[in-house]
């Protein structure tokens, strides 16, 4: 009987040790992060208009917002959105009424980002974009929404860590909106937080 109790105690001891070995280290080393990055800056539309080319305003403020899953590897996967005004064109109608047409876009892109060296990243992404075409000044205000299905971006960014959670930096990106073959580039200041 004593032998049997001793055997059960030894088995329990082994299981206990095995179980303890599955516990996290006393020093926590978290290897997966989620991060949120916001950017704002100058956006420039590469003017490919044939109608109103000389009457187009092609510089504006661009905003971006990115959510990344950052595993321990160099690659991160994320979603990017934002708001860009591509151009504003002012023209006069046959009746000499002055009107303006504005094209803006909200992209929604799946983005892959790679850390090249410390703090420096390259990313590419593709996805859809909702484009807003607004006309004012001639007849009633008209807004036409267009879904663009093939859109791309590539960018290079630098993020300097301020603390364990906060990073700041800058980004240069090129965006393509496929619906009307529109291209633009943007230089933005970034602020990122690791969640």
């Amino acid at each position: 009987m004593a032998k049997r109790q001793l055997f059960i105690f030894v088995i329990f001891l082994f299981l206990s040790c095995t179980g303890f070995s599955q516990h996290a280290d006393s020093v926590k080393a978290r290897k997966n992060y989620y991060s949120l990055t916001a950017g704002v800056g100058w956006a420039h539309y590469i003017n490919s208009l044939e109608i109103g080319k000389d009457n187009a305003t092609i510089n504006s403020i661009g905003i971006s917002l990115k959510f990344f899953w950052e595993p321990e590897h160099r690659l991160s996967l994320g979603l990017e959105s934002g708001f860009y005004r591509l151009y504003k064109v002012k023209l006069k109608s046959i009746a000499e009424a002055s009107g303006q047409a504005t094209m803006s876009a909200i992209p929604l892109l799946l983005v892959v980002r790679m850390r090249i060296v410390d703090h420096f990243y390259l990313s590419v992404g593709g996805g859809m974009a909702l484009m807003f075409n607004k006309v004012t000044g001639i007849d009633n205000k008209v807004t036409s929404n267009i879904l663009s299905m093939s859109n791309y971006q590539c960018s290079g960014s630098y993020l300097y860590p301020l603390s364990k959670h906060w990073q700041v930096g800058g980004e240069f990106k090129v965006l393509n909106f496929g619906k009307a073959s529109d291209w633009m580039y943007s230089l933005q200041a970034l602020c990122a937080v690791r969640l």
Binding site: E50, V89, G99, I138, V142, S144, I146
Partner: protein, 414 residues
């Protein structure tokens, strides 16, 4: 290595696919023109040139026979596989000179053509009505912008048959006369295209009718504004989203023309062309019909005042449009073209039945339409072999096509 080469090839194909050549340039003789001091032909002389010709030299490129036919402005020559000529003609004394270009409608092939009819081989007969029936046209054709250097010679074979001459057959050209994608020098669904299409052999047109946000019917094919049909501009999305003033301010067709209103298109067709049939293909939403019918009525009245024998019919491509038409008072008296069933034709008393070409020649039903005093036309038939088959074995009153010169060839060579 092989996958890399395949990837490179795909990339090159994709890049080449992005090319936006919207037109095949029309070759010009420039300082080498032979037309400088020539005088225009009168109508009697023009008619004397028309007929079926044998290709005595150049048959390897243009085939054995061509048809020679005058249109409102030019002399057109068509062969069986899409090669066609658009020529200016003039005379000096009793020698007739021809100059222009050839184009292959199924490819980008083109070139300059310069020809003449000697005095004693048809020139005298064409200009005076006297002399030998024989007409021989000598000359040469070139390729691209090069001067003509390939021998081309035609011999008059016979006049058009009575069937070809006397029938009321309609050669209907798509999108107001031709598609932008066929790299024509003018944009589809434009006034310029309506003015151009007779050079291709058309005797009627189909136009695509839409309605602006403020209720102005205009002609434009696609569902949205795009760089396939328009110059890149600040508007995008469905053209119906915008008012007419906004469209005229911000949109130009691919060759720079303005989108025409339906009224402008019909008035130009009546006033400035010899086209005999206009098919209004209703692309717009329900409610468009109520705006289009009064314009159709005014256009028919205008044509009648000018003594123009022209049919202008509203198209019924779907049951939605059919139901839209049936809400209109006295809808059975409105000249219409129904693409649906024979029963639907009867329901709205359509003037024309227009089945899809893939349904076959349907001679019995076409015969039934004829016996009821209606016309039957078929859409949209583009392959030369099918065009030949439908003209030889069918009894349609017209064919809608993107290649009117091919239909012209097989119609006039009957």
């Amino acid at each position: 290595m092989k996958p890399n080469l395949i990837a490179l090839a795909i990339l090159l194909i994709a890049l080449c696919g992005c090319s936006k050549d919207t037109t095949v340039p029309i070759p010009s003789a420039g300082p080498n023109s032979i037309m400088e001091e020539t005088h225009p032909l009168n109508n009697a002389s023009k008619i004397m040139m028309e007929g079926v010709y044998k290709v005595a030299s150049g048959a390897d490129f243009f085939g054995d026979y061509v048809i020679v036919k005058w249109n409102r402005t030019n002399l057109s020559i068509s062969n069986k596989d899409g090669k066609h000529f658009i020529l200016d003609v003039g005379h000096l004394d009793t020698v007739v000179f021809l100059q222009g270009y050839w184009r292959n409608g199924y490819s980008d092939g083109t070139g300059l053509v310069q020809m003449y009819i000697p005095r004693n081989e048809g020139g005298t007969r064409i200009l005076t009505g006297q002399g030998d029936q024989k007409i021989a046209i000598y000359g040469a054709y070139g390729k691209e912008e090069a001067l003509p250097d390939q021998a081309f010679e035609l011999e008059y074979l016979r006049p058009f048959s009575d069937i070809a001459k006397n029938s009321n057959f309609y050669i209907l050209a798509h999108r107001a006369g031709g598609r932008t994608s066929d790299k024509l020098p003018v944009s589809e669904n434009s006034i310029a295209m309506i003015n151009y299409t007779e050079k291709l052999g058309s005797t009627g047109i189909e136009v695509d009718v839409r309605m602006s946000k403020d209720g102005v019917p205009y002609i434009y094919h696609d569902g949205d504004l795009n760089t396939r049909l328009t110059q890149k501009g600040p508007l995008a999305g469905p053209s119906e989203n915008y008012t007419w003033a906004q469209l005229t301010t911000f949109v130009r067709l691919i060759h720079g023309e303005m989108i025409p209103t339906l009224e402008e298109a019909l008035n130009f067709t009546i006033d400035s062309t010899l086209l005999r049939f206009v098919y209004l293909d209703m692309k717009g939403d329900v409610g468009t019909m109520a705006k289009v019918i009064p314009i159709q009525k005014l256009a028919l009245e205008r044509a009648q005042k000018k003594g123009r024998d022209i049919k202008i019919v509203v198209g019924i491509p779907s049951t939605d449009v059919l139901n839209d038409l049936m809400t209109y008072p006295n809808y059975t008296s409105i000249p219409s073209l129904c693409e649906l069933s024979v029963d639907d034709v009867h329901a709205v008393n359509s003037m024309v039945w227009a089945p899809r070409w893939t349904l076959g020649t349907q001679n019995e039903l076409v015969q039934q339409m004829h016996s009821e005093g209606r016309l039957a036309v078929c859409w949209t038939i583009d392959q030369p072999s099918w065009i030949k088959d439908y003209l030889e074995n069918g009894i349609f009153d017209g064919l809608l096509t993107n290649f009117p010169y091919v239909v012209a060839y097989y119609h006039y060579i009957q």
